[in-house]
Symmetry: C3
Subunit: 316 residues, 3 copies
C-alpha cells in the first residue's frame, strides 16, 4: 500500500479485516516495526478518536510522532499554483509538503469538506498536494469525501459482532443542526459494497448521496421499513449532496430511538461519534445494550495500526 | 489507590511523603513500571508546572502520553444529561470519557472553579463524569475545590526543610487583582491537618474558607501575629467563599514583604506559583534565601510520579 | 558549548560543519546520548522547519521533549523587573524560567523581533532571562536579531554543494508585503564571514543592515551585477534597519526570477523558507534545478542535532 486515501487502496478488504482482528489480539507487541520512523500528524479540524487512535497506533508500532498544526503553530498554507503570494498565506503547500516529506516517513492528514463548493471539495486539494509534493505515503484521517479508517473500523466491528453469515445492514440518515460532510457515509457504502451483506440505505428525499458511490444499493425513504429486522443499524447525518451542503430537513421523526429499534430487537446500533444525543440518537439507545458505539470507537486503534503497519512494511 | 481526587485517597499521608522522598533520590530508574501504559492529559485551563511535572513523571515511568485539548483540538463537551444536543456542544462527556477510557490507562484532568456558582463548582462535574464513564483512574490536576498534587508537594517540601519536629506553619491570604479559586488553600489545609504541626490560618474578614474543611484550625485576622516566629509561611490568594467568587479586598498591607518576614527570620516562604510579584509576594522575599518556591515547584515531579506509580501498581 | 545564541558560541565553525556532515551520514545512531535528558521547546511564534527539525533531532538523540506554549497553554509572561503585577501577565519570567530550568536539561526558544523598537529587540529579553534564571543551556531557534541554526544549516548546504574552493556567495534582498526581521540575514553574514568565500551583499537603498554585523563586506545596490557568475544566491527579505521595521520598497524588479538567474547559470539558489512565491522568488526558480531550498530545509536537522549533541556532551 502506498497511500491510504480510500478503500480502493486496500487490495483485499476481507483479508484486511482479518489482519485487524489479529492486531487486536496483540497490539502492543509491534514496537520494532516503526522504530526510528516518524509519523507527521496534520489536523486541519477537530478530532478526538482519530487523534487518540492514530497516536496510540504509532506508539504501538514504536514510531516517533511529530504533530504539525497549520491553524495555530505553523505558517498559513497557500494551495493555488502561480499565485503572487502577497496575501495572508505565508507558505505554499509545495514547499511545506516537500519539507515535511523530508522529515516524516508517513504523513496523516485530516481536512474536512468545507461544504461551500462541491467541485472544490471533490478535488481533495491538501491530500493531492501532499501526495504529489511530499514523496511520502499519505493517510486519510477524513478528507472532504472519504473517511476510510472509519470504514475499516466499521467492517471490523460488524465482522466481530455478526451472528449470521449475511447480516442485514442499514445506513440511516438522522437529523442534525449543522451541515455535516458526506465522508463517513461515502466510505461506509464503499466498504459495505465489498462484503457479502444485505445492505440498504434510508434517508429523507433530497438527501441522496453521490450516485457514483451509491450505485445500485437499494435506497428507500421509509426508515421504519429499512430498520425492520436489521442486524446492524448505522446512524449518521449528512447534508444535502445535490443542494450541496444545505440542511433541508431537521425532522426528529428520523432520530433513532429505542422505540424505533423495537423493530430490530437483535440489531446493533453503530455511529462514528461524536454523536448529538437526542437529535441523532436518543439517550435510551445509546445507554442500551444495542449500542456498540464505544466498542466501535476502540476499533479505530486496530484499523489505524493495520494501515500504518501495512504502509511501513510496503516501504521497506 | 483507584483515583487521586483529594488527600482522602491516600491512606497514609506520612508514608506517602516518605515514598516521594525515595522517588526524589532516584526518579529516573522506573521506566519499566509504566511501559505500554498510556496517560491521557486533559487541560481545560492554563498550566506550566502541572503540565511539565506530570509529563516528566510519565516519561520517568516509561508511559506514553496522549494530550487531549477540548478547548481547541477536540470537540466541545456537553455535560448535562437528557439534553437535546442542538446547541454548540458537539460531544457528550458520556461518550468522550468512555472513548478516552478505552485508550488511556490513567486520565489526568485540570478544570478550575468557574467561581460563578458555588454549588455547580462543588459538583466537580468533569471529574465525576470521567470517574463514572471512563472506567479508568482519574488524577486531579486541580479541580474546582481541590489541588491534591500541590498539597503532597507542599508536605514533601515542609518535611525536607523542617528543623524541628513540630514546626509552626502559617497559611496567609495575600491580595490579588482577580478572583482566584479556593482549591490550593483547601488542599493545603486538608494536608496539614494530617500532620502533627502547629498550624494557623490568617486572612482579612470576609475571606473565611469552607468551614467543613477548616474545622477547628485557629483562624485570626492579624497577619503579623500569625507570621511571628513561624517556620513556614504559605502565601496564597483566594476569593471570597461566602460571597462566592468575589474580590472584597485588595489591601496591600497583606502583601508578604521582607519587612514583614523579619518577624519570622527562620521561616521558609512557600507559594504554589504562578505568583504576582509585589502584589502577593514582594520581590525582596522571592529573591531572598527565605523563599523556597522553586524547590517547591520541582517537588511537583516527585508527587506526580508517586501518584502515577501508586495508581499503576494498584491496577495490576 | 554552554548556550547556542549566535555563531560566536561555536569555537571552530569549519569543524562544526564537518561534524554536521558526519551526523548526516548516520543521524539515527545516537539515541543513547540524550537518554533521560529533557528538551523544553518554547515557541512564541509560528514554526514549521524549526519545530520539526528540532523535534526530530531530539528524538534522534533519545531525548524526552516537553513543549511549553506561553501563548495558549501556559500563563502569560511578565518580563519587567520591579513591576507590581496587577495587569494581565500572570507569571514573571524569573519564576517561569527557574521552574523550567528545574525540569529541562536544555531549553530551546523562538521569539521573533517585534520590529517596533530597535533597542527593545536588541535586548533579546526572553533569551537573556532564560539564560540568567533557568541555569540551563539555551538554544536560539530564532531570536529578534539572530537565527544561528539556520546559519549553520546554510554553511552545511554550501559546503556540500560547492564546486570550487572559494565560491562566490551573494546575499540578495527581495520584496515582501510585510515587515520581516533581520535575524536570518544577520546570522548568514556572520556565518559567511567565518569562511573563505567571495561574499557580496545586494539590496535597495534604505535597506542597509546593522553596520556592526556587515563590517567591510562589499554592498552594492545593483542586483544584476551582484548575481552575475555567482555560485550561491541567498535570497531573503528584511525590513529597514535604519527606519526600523518599515517596508520602504516592494519593487518587484528585485524578485529573483529564472530570467535573472541566467546571469549565474551554475548558481544554487537558497532560501530559509517559508518563501512567498512570485514575490521573493518566482515559481520558475523554485521549480528549477538551481533551487536547493528543500535540501537546505532538510539540513536543519543535522545542524540542530549537532548543537543539541554538543551541548549535551558539554554538560556531562
Amino acid at each position: 500500500m502506498k497511500h491510504y486515501m480510500s478503500i480502493k487502496d486496500i487490495k483485499n478488504i476481507q483479508q484486511a479485516v482479518v489482519e485487524c482482528q489479529k492486531i487486536k489480539l496483540d497490539c502492543s507487541g509491534q514496537r520494532e516495526i516503526g522504530k526510528q520512523k516518524t509519523l507527521g500528524l496534520i489536523f486541519m479540524n477537530p478530532s478526538l478518536r482519530t487523534k487518540i487512535s492514530t497516536t496510540q497506533a504509532a506508539y504501538n508500532l514504536g514510531m516517533d510522532i511529530i504533530p504539525i498544526d497549520f491553524n495555530t503553530g505553523a505558517w498559513g498554507l497557500e494551495f493555488q499554483d502561480g499565485i503572487v503570494m502577497d496575501g495572508s498565506s505565508t507558505e505554499h503547500v509545495r514547499e511545506a509538503a516537500a519539507v515535511i516529506g523530508e522529515y516524516c516517513d508517513v504523513i496523516a492528514i485530516r481536512s474536512f469538506a468545507k461544504l461551500e463548493d462541491k467541485e472544490a471539495d471533490a478535488k481533495e486539494e491538501i491530500f493531492e498536494a501532499f501526495k504529489k509534493y511530499s514523496g511520502k505515503p499519505v493517510i486519510n484521517l477524513e478528507s472532504a469525501t472519504k473517511h476510510p479508517l472509519q470504514m475499516l473500523t466499521d467492517l471490523l466491528t460488524i465482522e466481530e459482532l455478526k451472528t449470521k453469515a449475511k447480516p442485514k445492514v442499514v445506513l440511516t440518515w438522522a437529523p442534525h443542526e449543522k451541515a455535516l460532510p458526506h465522508a463517513v457515509a461515502n466510505s461506509f457504502i464503499e466498504g459495505i459494497k465489498g462484503m457479502d451483506y444485505d445492505f440498504i440505505i434510508t434517508h429523507p428525499e433530497g438527501y441522496e448521496l453521490d450516485s457514483s458511490i451509491v450505485g445500485d444499493i437499494p435506497v428507500i425513504h421509509d426508515q421504519d421499513k429499512a430498520i425492520k429486522d436489521a442486524d446492524f443499524v448505522y446512524v449518521k447525518n449528512w447534508s444535502s449532496f445535490s443542494d450541496y451542503g444545505k440542511v433541508l430537513n431537521k425532522d426528529k421523526n428520523w432520530t433513532v430511538t429505542a422505540d424505533k429499534m423495537k423493530q430490530a430487537p437483535k440489531a446493533k446500533v453503530m455511529h462514528c461519534l461524536p454523536v448529538r444525543r437526542n437529535l441523532v440518537l436518543s439517550d435510551d439507545v445509546l445507554e442500551s445494550s444495542q449500542s456498540v458505539v464505544i466498542q466501535q470507537a476502540k476499533n479505530r486503534l486496530y484499523a489505524a495500526q493495520y494501515v500504518l503497519k501495512t504502509i511501513l512494511e510496503s516501504e521497506t
